[in-house]
Amino acid sequence: MTGLSRSFEGVLIDTDVLVIGGGAGGLLAALSAKRHGPPGTRVTLVDSWLIGRTGHTAFSNAWQIFALPDDDLDGILQEIVSGNDGIADQVLVREVLANSHARLKDFEAIGMTFGREEDGSYKRRPTRGLNLARVMYPEGGGLEFAWALRRALEAEGVQLIDRLFVTGLLGGGSGRVAGAVGIHSRTGEFHAIKARATIVATNAITFRSGFVRDITGTGTLLAYRAGATLRNAEFSYVRPGTPKFYFEGITFAIQEGARWINAKGEPFMRDYEPDWGDEADVPRIARAMAIENEKGNVPLYLDMSAIPEPLREYFIQSKVKWMDNFFRKLGNEARTDMFGKTPYYALNQMTKMAIGTGPDCRSDLPGLLAAGLAQAGCANHFAGFHIGLCVGNGWIAGRSAIADLDALPPPRLDAAEVRALHDEVTRPVDESANAESDVILRDLQAIMFAYDVGILKRADRLEQARAAVDELAEKCNALAAPHTHELVRLKETEAMLLAARFILGASLYRTESRLSHFREDYEARDDANWLVWVDIMERGGRPHFAKTPIPTPLCSATLVTRRPTRAISGQAHVAGV
């Protein structure tokens, strides 16, 4: 069959638990569902590309915060909540931390190896912005981590479907989510998947800017269209970076003595973060960089002159296979550039917008759950609590999905709805069209990544940006796709445009400054009025913004963590390199 045909034909799959997205959240959700379900439970995991070889996790170090039995669990919870400026689901975060040791044992049981010291204890490192938490990584980094999980899922009988790009969630007209539809991302063949529970684990919208630009996070927007609530759109993961190359060792470089300097050679972080200085978490560094830019103090550099040469080499000897290849090919001059001569910028990586759920990862919609960064557990994630949270909420989502199987009415498919979703995805197909979604994307990036929109916000500029995004959306609606490759990109661009509207709308709505959300016209943090989630839901065909108070059953949400002297220096943990 031809995938680009408009005729209504395709594949129908029936399963118990459908997991959408093959990163850490999706892999763990599938594993958890299979292990919590009674024998014979059908679990299906789909991803746009090859499961285990795509997504943020696969291209990361797979650093994770693990809380070991002797760790101060509540202390780590408090510092993560404080580091999130209170925007965190405390119950969820605590359970993720409490379960992390069991997950570590699961990983070792499926063949992963975590480094150990000579005395047999695990090799652990501190991470930026946190004092008590410690991170660990599996040998081989994210590629080996994700592949080991893929192999485990295969061994346990999970159905893996690679190259399925999901384009809509099924409702069946029953007030619940009943599965999803999508197209094969190469052939365009239409698929409908009927499921008793559906877990969205499609990461976050990145606008193709981050270091893994295949992540497009479309699942959260599909959940919105199906009736779910989104939250944390006003927050983003912004961090220092350079457009010239990727360097994923900034956290550790700073622990070893690197510091941010401006064009005058002045260290500037203590001016903005008196307690944390250069060890502040990345959104705070990004804000300082943006203000330095406004003062005319750019270019900005990461000065590594205080770090001995052998230790600099350690940053190059990455745990990530692709970075090994990357640095091997860089010339000596480029390497020298990296250590102090290359201008750095505050670069936006992804929105923190995700699906609002309870601590059990259930959304407001029966049959729909969320995991990974598609679940709004925190507004910020520290190095190691990106994947750490995904592992934890994936496990919880899989368990909740199984618990729901018999509690919910059986899903049913509405033929007219399936047909309509089919027609919607094939509508833009026109073999004579030009592929032009990249033009829209570049314009959208220019709007959303301008420092005075994405980092330093003000009402008038946000309004202007929103009007510009609306214009782009109209242009995008007129585009067609000559082939499946472009059809997928066009659908992703549509999702990014919708996400941009939500990000700008939520940024206007929250009239205070908090975490990565800095309003020039509302500079102060306002706990009296804004210790809330800004929830976004569809009302009458339009997005509606509302406040939801954040429960604080376990610890203070208003405490600001001061930085004590580090008990463990980073250097001690790279001894021997």
Partner: protein
Amino acid sequence: MIETIEIEKCTGCGVCDLVCPADVIHMEPAPVAPEVPGLTQTRMLPVIKFREHCITCFSCEIFCPEQIVDVHPSVKNRPRPW
């Protein structure tokens, strides 16, 4: 960004296509000299179909069993905030 695949050394295993997370490389039939005169013969070989969408993840280079894929480390088209 992906630069080249040394096609003359390629076995046509298709791993580069399989592991690409950006749909850049497609295995496509390429004509070869037929073993049976009169028949059209092809073999599957990789084509860099959407080079501009390469995300410089190095997967094709890492997993190619023949080590014949070359990815250049420079990153292109990354938006700047100022």
